[in-house]
């Protein structure tokens, strides 16, 4: 096990500024041989920046980085890799059209003359697969494998390059609870084998489960390093945010009214599959939050797009408050009272090249008083934007700031502000807290609950099961385009919902194994 002062990495007094931000200010980080060390903090706390400096992607403005006891002056990714540092980025760096095997050896191919020695590479890869029980299929193309598997490929890739230190940037964001469990087993085996792991995350439960030590950062500053035994999630959350956080809002008994949204036997096609959604029916009633749980890519996105008029409904009916809005244009759906926080705020939710005010007024820019005829009334728009910025606590408060420069949380608040202010009958909230910091998650959840209390229907989709459980009154579980089950919130646990998320077939398989 880890010897106390056997540090493989020591980073002290690290300082790093970007043009707009002082990203890291006095950063401290040490890593022992054979430990899992979590680095936690909100978005923009500087965790990724710290690790990118260790990996040689950024050069620190000040401070020292020691690897294996040597002071590293001019670190580049090449030198870092040479020193045994490996990084798995949040977005996988894999070539979709190549096979798993080719991806792993890319750039470090064992050669026989000028020919790649595939036998040797296969043997080396199999060694890792066996040692750490990582299932991968070396001959599948990357676009044919699941996200979880792609992640294992990334880890094998770094190991293959001789990494002793693995930096994992938010690795669990894409995994189901069951996949996570398996993933953690792999991490433990890696640790037991003497590898050191840096685990970047903001999911505190996971951090408590897997770490030996935990370092907390907040707004670029080093806060503390603690042993897992000496802390708990509440304390960690407090250190991260700088104050008490209440994510688990007391769920008030829903005051349920008439159905607002009725889906009747919806069929729709996906990008690749002809029938991505196959006969989905359920309803959302006034004053309740219905959560859709499911592993990403099981049709949730397509279903929401079909409801919102962004994807063609091939069969079935979408009824909003008694009005048939099947295959209406997005504009007509909005007029009928549908509001929608889209899952990808950078693609649909925001026009990142435009300012906060332009984004806030985006769906009503042609209405009075924001326009008279075709002339836009900048003053009215400004006033409207300032109101919303204040009401929803968007920062910066300057309406003319381009949204591209905003943090994830504040960018998302713009979308939330616009859609909630639109005052529709139904609010679709798709991944409302993806990639935003804890403070913003807290306020977004509060807002959703307030909307529910006003007697509106909310359809919530989230890849974060904890979020679905925390907010929903009913939970619809989707698997491969079908509804696996609808669970009342009282009966829902991450176990039973998690199993439904994997579909019955997998369910049976697991029983066989155990």
């Amino acid at each position: 096990m880890a010897a106390k002062d056997d540090y493989i990495v020591e980073m002290s007094d690290i300082d790093k500024s970007f043009p707009a931000v002082h990203a890291v200010d006095g950063g401290q980080f040490t890593l022992r041989r054979g430990e899992i060390h979590s680095l936690i903090g909100e978005n923009g706390a500087g965790k990724s920046t710290m690790m990118k400096m260790l990996y040689g992607l950024y050069r620190p403005d000040g401070g020292t980085i020691k690897i294996n006891g040597k002071v590293m002056e001019h670190l580049t990714p090449g030198i870092s890799i040479g020193e045994g540092i490996g990084m798995v980025h949040q977005e996988f760096m894999l070539v979709n059209d190549l096979t798993v095997l080719e991806n792993v050896i890319l750039g470090f191919e064992p050669k026989k003359g000028v020919i790649i020695n595939f036998e040797e590479s296969r043997a080396r890869i199999n060694k890792y697969v066996e040692t750490y029980h990582m299932d991968i299929q070396p001959d599948k193309r990357i676009d044919q494998i699941s996200v979880g598997e792609a992640q294992r490929v990334e880890i094998i890739k770094t190991l293959y390059r001789g990494a002793n230190v693995l930096i994992l940037d938010e690795p669990t964001a894409v995994l189901t609870p069951q996949e996570c469990t398996k993933f953690f087993e792999i991490l433990q085996e890696l640790r037991n084998d003497g590898k050191s792991i840096v685990f970047i995350s903001h999911k505190l439960n996971e951090v408590m489960e897997i770490s030996d030590r935990i370092t907390v950062m907040r707004t670029g500053k080093y806060i503390a390093t603690v042993n897992k035994e000496d802390t708990n999630t509440t304390e960690l959350a407090k250190m991260m945010v700088g104050r008490e956080v209440f994510l688990s809002i007391e769920k008030e008994k829903a005051n349920i009214g008439a159905p607002i949204l009725e889906l009747k036997d919806i069929w729709t096609s996906g990008e690749k599959e002809l029938s991505k959604i196959r006969g989905v029916s359920f309803d959302v009633r006034a004053g309740e939050i219905v959560g859709i749980a499911g592993v990403d890519g099981n049709g949730q996105s397509e279903l929401i797009e079909a409801v919102a008029g962004l994807r063609k409904v091939e069969k079935g009916q979408v009824i909003l408050d008694g009005q048939d809005i099947t295959n209406d244009t997005p504009f007509e759906a909005r007029k009928a009272g549908l509001t929608h926080i889209p899952e990808d705020r950078n693609l649909r939710g925001l026009n990142r090249a435009l300012s906060i005010e332009e984004n806030l007024v985006a769906w009503r820019f042609e209405e009075k008083p924001f326009a008279t005829g075709i002339n836009r009334n900048k003053k009215e728009i400004r006033k409207f934007a300032e109101d919303l910025i204040e009401k929803f606590d968007i920062r910066p408060t300057e309406p003319t700031v381009i949204t591209q420069s905003l943090s994830g949380g504040n960018a998302q608040k713009i979308v939330v502000a616009r859609e909630v202010d639109a005052d529709g009958k139904l609010l679709i909230a798709s991944q409302p807290s993806r990639g935003v910091d804890i403070g913003a998650i807290e306020s977004i959840r509060k807002i959703l609950n307030a909307v529910k209390k006003e007697g509106k229907g909310i359809l919530l989709v989230s890849a974060d099961l904890e979020e679905v459980l925390a907010l929903s009154d009913r939970i619809v579980v989707m698997y491969e385009g079908r509804i696996m089950g609808i669970v009342d919130s009282e009966d829902a646990t991450s176990d039973n919902v998690g199993l439904l998320m994997l579909g019955e077939r997998l369910d049976e398989k697991e029983k066989e194994v155990s």
Partner: protein
Amino acid sequence: MAEKKNNPYITLLLTLLLSMVVGAIFMLVLGFKPFDAYVQLFKGAFVGKVNLGTTLQKFVPILLTGVGFAVASKVGCFNAGIEGELYLGAITAAWAGHYLPKMPAFLHILVCLVLAMIVGALWAAIPAILKVKWDVNEICVCILSTYVAKFFTSWLCNGPLSAKTGMPQTPAVHENIMLTQIMKPSQANTGLFIAFIVVAAVIWLLYRSTVGYKFLTVGLNSAHADYMGINSKKVVIQGMMLSGALGGIAGTIEVLGVYGYFLDNFSLNIANDGMLSSMIVWNDIRLVPLMAFFVASLKAGALSMERFAGVPRSIVDTITAIFIIFATMETLFHFLYKKKKTKEEKAAMTINAAPAGSEKGGKKDE
């Protein structure tokens, strides 16, 4: 994250100086005197009524086609077909100016303009519709349709609309609708003012009206526009049509202000100069007039440089080409800003209370 644009005026000025230096080196190598050449170039473009007038006359169509190109780029289209729209607009104006019955001059000019705009707009709608309906690359369609437009006008002015004077041209338009010359004996005309009004209107439309907001939204992020309830396909077609209409206006001013008739193949790639003027300034409509004026002065001055300093005109094309190369290297003068930037940005940081995610904003989210 995309590189931020620094002060565009300074960058353009430095680019200009640098390309002139390189141009000078070329001239030295070829055995000319660069200083004399530049003096003549400058004189030929600005000194004296005729020279300045010629510059202004060349400026107008470059400006209009440049703004036209920039408008299309705002909805995400590369309108390589402005030349064709200019030709069709020109021949429409020539036709309307000759064949329509007599009417008050002002009204007649307006009719010519409007008809040319409609023709230009419809012509530009073809690539746009093909693009949004069937995902056909608009650049290909534009380039090909320009040939069609050129040959079609060529046939018209040699055949059905020929003045039958032995020259490939249409009959002259009514004398009274010719745009007034403002700097005789040069060919500069009141079309200059029409162009200014049109450009001002376009700038207003883009940045102050709901129509322009739709253009910008669709051009920057069409998925967002669709989700917001804007029909992005319709907007793309509208943007291209406006672009084509501007080409039509350029053609009209050439006919009513300079020639008085449609002359076969008269344009000699005016629209290409317009496109370049727009692209060099990153399709920023507010900078296009500056760039168009610069290109026009080069064109106008080149002749006198050749005549009086003996430097071949093609050296100007070389300088223009070098200029384009440098101008497209957006980070060329980046080092100048580095120091200043950190100061500025720090100041900006105090305003943006919580900008901590800005570096990551793009990459981390999702």
